[in-house]
Assembly symmetry: C2
């Protein structure tokens, strides 16, 4: 007997969308992805884009859809207002909104915000990955999602209790390509090529009294002064920035002993390396799997809820 | 009796040059400035530019010239190799070089470098201002020169013992104009308009456990979440960055109780305010006067030396 399609799950971010057709156990029956991210879309464009992808999948028929991510931003399809911390991961579905223009049941999940003076923060999409991790049994744990803007989140008793967005990736890009350090950091530099230099930079950033902005220029000066000595400005800049990020959550890392890293590729490997330097264990998780699990859990609750009404 | 011209003193930076005709007491008889900074010049262009400015000043005749700044960089008129820390401020003239192509005696003063692992650093021009401050009797003191790349220098027993370049100004520009925070920081923002917000940001940056890169995004999130509350993202970003810079030298500031600020204008006033928040006294000095004093002292030593040969 072929698996019965249950729902279409969508991770609709700023730059991309990914859509999966799943059965009620979350097994993927079909999938689509495209660069039609929220960043480039007018509010009115969403229904046709969604239907376009669904109509390409025969099994999608009139299945309901659950969406996480930036499609729920104020400038997205329809705003799904933020749930404030401590935000219950099981209850996200209760704050889903139904956007206009869809020809089938469509739900957009909310993001999460933190209203704390000096620590205001927002996320959209990551909370659904964390809900997926909770489904997987990961509670009372520290999570890190590396990226242009990485997120660190603490999940305690099924709630996102605290989180922080760190602009490490964007700063690396701006500093290495547009500041005076662009003359020292090659465009095709590889931080993994010199792990010893990366590690030393992480160690420097983890040391007490470290000051990032007072250290950056030394990368340029080292290039001017240390002729002949082996340097890798990419590894050093990367290590200083990622190290500074981990220094900021070092007390949480000590408390939990490990961090769950949601991601893949070189950047995630560098984070794992830096977490190890800080004495923590890094455990990698698949972000696509987690967001599907989180979306599926919400879908089940939403449809169940719908049925009861 | 009219004052007798003694030398032409030049502060030749990356973006600008300033030239003063002085008597042997340092009194300014005439001056010139232009945007012919090192950054835009070919090595062969220097003699004609210098002579152009001097020929416009009748009194300059065949006076000798002493130059400080980027004209002595490897990519300038002629490289005047760095003197390493601890660098004696009185002896700078001993490392002056004579460039090619000049039709009169011309000397270019060296910069100063710090060859210390993880703290490599260079300066060109600021050392001559510090030499001027020493001439003024300021020894065993902490100096700060705000700018795109600010410099902090410790002068001990007539030597630059330690210094640090901080990319605060450049980072402020990149972050406020090109990162995601550009949507929060207005182009015409004024950090001085809300001194309470600036002060609070400085205080946050001075507090133990502060992590700059983990705090920046809160400026964006605050704008999204705190509707109605008064915010000034310019003041907050400026306070966090300048505060982080001062946090890095807080132990020196505690030790000396004060910092001599070489500069003028809004940026220097913000530094003075932040230094006060850190419990220090900020004393403003005129950078133009200091560089002339430093150049004059070198000129006297050089011409004296020349005479003896």
């Amino acid at each position: 007997m072929p698996a019965k399609p249950f729902a279409a799950l969508v991770d609709w971010g700023t730059s991309n969308l990914r859509l999966w057709l799943v059965d009620s156990q979350g097994a993927v029956l079909a999938e689509r992805q495209s660069a039609e991210g929220m960043g480039g879309l007018d509010r009115t464009a969403y229904p046709a884009i969604l239907e376009g992808h669904l109509s390409a999948l025969e099994a999608a028929q009139d299945l309901p859809v659950v969406i996480a991510g930036m499609a729920g931003a104020r400038t997205g399809w329809r705003e799904a207002p933020y749930v404030a911390t401590p935000a219950p991961l099981i209850g996200l579905f209760q704050h889903a909104v139904v956007p206009e223009g869809a020809s089938r049941p469509v739900y957009i999940l909310p993001g999460v915000c933190q209203r704390e003076d000096g620590h205001y923060d927002v996320m959209r999409g990551e909370e659904t990955q964390l809900a997926g991790a909770l489904e997987q049994g990961l509670d009372n744990a520290l999570f890190c999602l590396p990226g242009t803007h990485s997120k660190w989140a603490l999940v305690e008793n099924g709630h996102i209790s605290r989180f922080s967005t760190v602009m490490t990736g964007e700063l690396f890009h701006l500093i290495s390509r547009q500041s005076i350090l662009r003359m020292s950091v090659p465009e095709d530099g590889d931080a993994e090529a010199d792990p010893d230099i990366f590690d030393a930079a992480v160690d420097a950033a983890l040391a007490s009294g470290f000051a990032l902005t007072s250290t950056l220029f030394s990368i340029r000066a080292e290039g001017l002064l240390s002729q002949g000595t082996k340097t890798n400005a990419t590894a050093r800049l990367s290590g200083l920035l990622i190290g500074a990020e981990i220094a900021a959550i070092q007390s949480d890392l000590k408390r939990y002993g490990k961090a769950y890293l949601i991601g893949t590729g070189k950047l995630t490997r560098l984070y794992a390396r830096a977490i190890a330097r800080a004495g923590g264990e890094a455990i990698m998780l698949d972000g696509g799997l987690l967001v599907r699990r989180g979306l599926l859990a919400c879908a089940i609750s939403l449809f169940d809820h719908e049925f009861k009404e």
